[in-house]
């Protein structure tokens, strides 16, 4: 059972307003699978789907037990309205996760990301392996919105909406980054890639700053709201990078998760990057990193191993829990009124 209480103000949603006001409290959610020996059809003997990290640092499962939930989004107006990108399609809940409806039909499968437009929260974006859909009605319908995407190369791993303007979004696809400024009526490519964009984030400190990770083009940065991009010189690109996270408590700190490189961090705004894997398992196949926006605590989810946490941005690590898990996403949701 999810128990979320929210500020209704949008500015807290992405922890983007920590500069002047007191830092909002956030709840840490995870989209995770613990699927030891699971194959399709067998009994679910472990708990997968959505987890909450409690004040006692324990991870508690809530909602449906489902091994293929990849991303979670919450309506900023109503914390009971949840959207999940799942193996079965887009899941929608109107009661905080107690019950769910598959909003999409047979012609959409395996979305990897879902994102609510914070300035037009009826509009929900869905990243599909064959394009992009946008619900204009809180998940009731999911029309495709792919004008401007290529016929091939529109595999979409990630989609994020710019918090400064309704209908302005970026999508990370197989063939590059695409931008819409009209609510997905049309898209245009702003950065080409050889292989899939794996993650995309907007800075909580500077709305014009965006970072993205890729499978074979390294990490890229935009300082003009996603219009132009360039590679980070210090980030390796030979192997895939899986995701990137900002530290809401420190504008100079970013972290990248990678199967091959483990955890890469910068503490100078991307000028230099360091691998911080000491203390992680020897086979540090990092599937996901996340940074707690309240305290800068760095999480690293090691594939089918456990979640590790660092209080010094990767210099030291300790096991934090959820053993055997694959974490698809860390989601930090404002919960100051909780």
């Amino acid at each position: 059972m999810i128990r979320l209480k929210f500020h209704l103000l949008l500015l807290g949603l992405l922890a983007g307003s920590v500069g002047a006001a007191p830092a909002p409290q956030h709840t840490t959610y995870l989209c995770a699978s613990i699927s030891l020996n699971y194959v399709v059809g067998s009994k679910l003997v472990t708990l997968s789907g959505l987890y909450e990290r409690g004040a006692d640092d324990a991870y508690r499962h809530f909602g449906l037990n489902f091994p293929g939930i990849f991303a979670l989004a919450v309506d900023p107006r109503d914390p009971q309205v949840l959207y999940a990108a799942s193996l079965n399609g887009a899941l929608c809940s109107r009661d905080g996760g107690k019950t769910w409806r598959i909003g999409t039909s047979w012609d959409m499968t395996e979305p990897k990301d879902v994102f609510v437009d914070p300035n037009a929260p009826d509009h929900v974006y869905l990243a599909l392996p064959d394009g992009i859909a946008v619900s204009p009605d809180r998940g009731a319908t999911w029309p495709r919105r792919e004008n401007g995407l290529p016929e091939r190369g529109k595999y979409t791993q990630v989609v994020k909406v710019d918090r400064t303007r309704a209908g302005r979004a970026l999508a990370g696809c197989e063939s590059g980054l695409y931008l819409t400024e009209n609510g997905a009526a049309s898209w245009r490519r702003v950065f080409p890639t050889q292989t899939t964009i794996t993650d995309l984030r907007q800075s909580p400190h500077d709305a014009a700053l965006w970072l993205a990770t890729t499978q074979s083009d390294g990490a890229i940065v935009s300082r003009d709201g996603g219009l132009t991009w360039k590679k980070f010189a210090g980030v390796p690109s030979a192997e895939a990078l899986y995701n990137v996270a900002f530290d809401a408590t420190n504008p100079s700190r970013y972290a990248i998760g990678s199967w091959t490189y483990g955890v890469l961090v910068t503490e100078d705004g991307g000028q230099t990057w360091t691998e911080r894997n000491a203390g992680l398992p020897a086979e540090h196949y990092v599937f996901r990193v996340g940074v707690d926006p309240d305290n800068g605590r760095l999480f690293a989810a090691v594939f089918k191993d456990a979640i590790f946490v660092s209080d010094d941005f990767g210099r030291t690590w300790r096991k934090d829990g959820l053993e055997g898990s694959t974490v698809y996403n860390f989601v930090f949701v404002p919960s100051a009124a909780k």
Binding site: V39, G41, R152, G153, E174, T196, F287
Partner: protein, 628 residues
Amino acid sequence: MKAPSFVFSILAACLAGSLSAQPSHLGPIPARIVVTHADQRRAAYEARVDEVLAWRVGLAKPGELLPDMAVIAAKLARREDGELCSRSVIALMQEPGSGPFWMFPVVNIAYLGRDQLSPEAKKSIRDAWRSVMQIRGDTENHWVMYYTSLYLMAELYPNDPATSWYNGKSSAENLAEARAYLIDWMDLATTVGQGEFNPTHYIGEYAIPMLFLASWAEDPAMRQRGRMKLDWLFADLAENSLEGVLHGANARTDDTSVIERWNALATFFNWICFGNTPPPAGYGGWGLYFATAAKAYDVPEVIYRIAVDRGGDFLQRDLKRTRRRWRNSDVQLAPIYKTNYSRRDYAVGSYQGGLSDPIQAHVWDVTWAVPDPRGVHNTMFSMHPVSSGFDMQTYFTELPDQMTKGVTKEGKASYDSPDKFLGCSRFEQVFQDLDTVIALYDIPPGTRFPHINGFFSKDLVNLTVDPSGWIFAQGGNAYLAYRPLAPYELQPVARIKSSWTGERADTGDKRLYSPHLKNGTIVQAASAGEFKDFAAFQAAIRALPLEFKLDPVPTVRFTTLRGKAVVCTYGAAPVVDGQAVDYTRWKLFEGPYLNAEKGSRKLTLTHGRLERVLDFNTLTITDRVRDN
């Protein structure tokens, strides 16, 4: 989550102690005579169905609840022990499964039990379909099972609200969605070709749902679609089987079936439909579920005849399609051009190479007939063993690195093994003309597993490495000539015995290991009866004109035993007698038995004067006896 079939292993595990109750599995090879009388064919078919059901109910322990859905389904099919079945259903529904492999056995029970299960048992089933979110899966067979199951359950409970279903959709919504998918899937299969074509095991995941649809759909149009698709599948199976043994090419097979061709669920379907082979142990596992409703199906005579009554050699060309490609490809569904040349003593089958399905494909082979196929490794082929996150990402919506490890734990233990015999490669190009196969390889440097594997069976006799460069051997009544185009060595094989555990066993087979990036194989087959003796065959092969070079790309000029001048160059269309092969003209089916135009939704089955037309445009089945 890749394509699993965990029940295979579950059912296989229960077989060891029960083999004696499987008379057709252990008994003598069936007499391969053509049963001309319809009533005799039907009686034999029903006897086989009864044998499966009897075996399965025999595994139940007296005084105990029935342990699984298979035995419950068997008992319900025999209309016995309804009360025990009800109590057992209630117990099993306490812990529902989570996907299509659980859904369709439950549908099986729900329909068989309509007038046998107690209201409480029915309620327990219905509750399970509310309480546990069912996983749709990510492969075509998953979806066919999932949506067929959802369709039938929505029909069984037609007016239930959204809150009563696991997915939050009403019965009407579920029915509409399932129907739309199933029609779309059939549309694809009947216009551009079957995906997951000719699978050695996954045929069950298609045939069983189609049987359920044909048996139980309330909507007569959907019932008819199920019936027609079942005919379509079995006609395809009949065409591609040699005395009840499905040969290559296969979109999906496994480490066992690719070698021991008989040991496959497809054999169960040949056995139960045509009676021309022993069934595999445990009736292939899934076979039980087919048997529970099998009496509602009547094997059309024309399909039966295609399977068992072949007048002579035949050449069949079929169009299939790849699994859906999400990325790394210019097309979402690529065409597969399949060739099947069958003779009494052997069959040669292939597709053009490249990626069809990511893990378990099998591109080509020569499979020879044997009096008793049980335990026999009656096949020969070569392949490039691929293990590639890039290739996996083409078909799976996953991040790149974990898949090659993960898939080995999901019933595909060999995927990341260099000595495997399972899989297809984007660096393999194959051409077949009748009983000649030319396979060329151009493997980029840096590719994981930069070599090719050739399979040499323990059951070959007279294996001779000839100074000419050819390797000669005999399998059954087939003479085989294998010409490696690059240096190699023959190594013993510790073959993967279990796709789930990765357990290996020395089977006596040999692997031709050739660690050269530019490579190739030529195989020429012939019947022993065509030659005075084996030496005469060898002499004939040695005399065939052959030129080849491997740089800059592999190229072969070869005049086949059948007199065709074939030129194959990697990356170019094959040329036969001066004419480039034009695959764009390939029909959906073309041959003496199965014929269909691309895009037609209409398949004509022919045997002698018998003809059956399956027309998905009009949803009609038309039988006629043609004039001489």
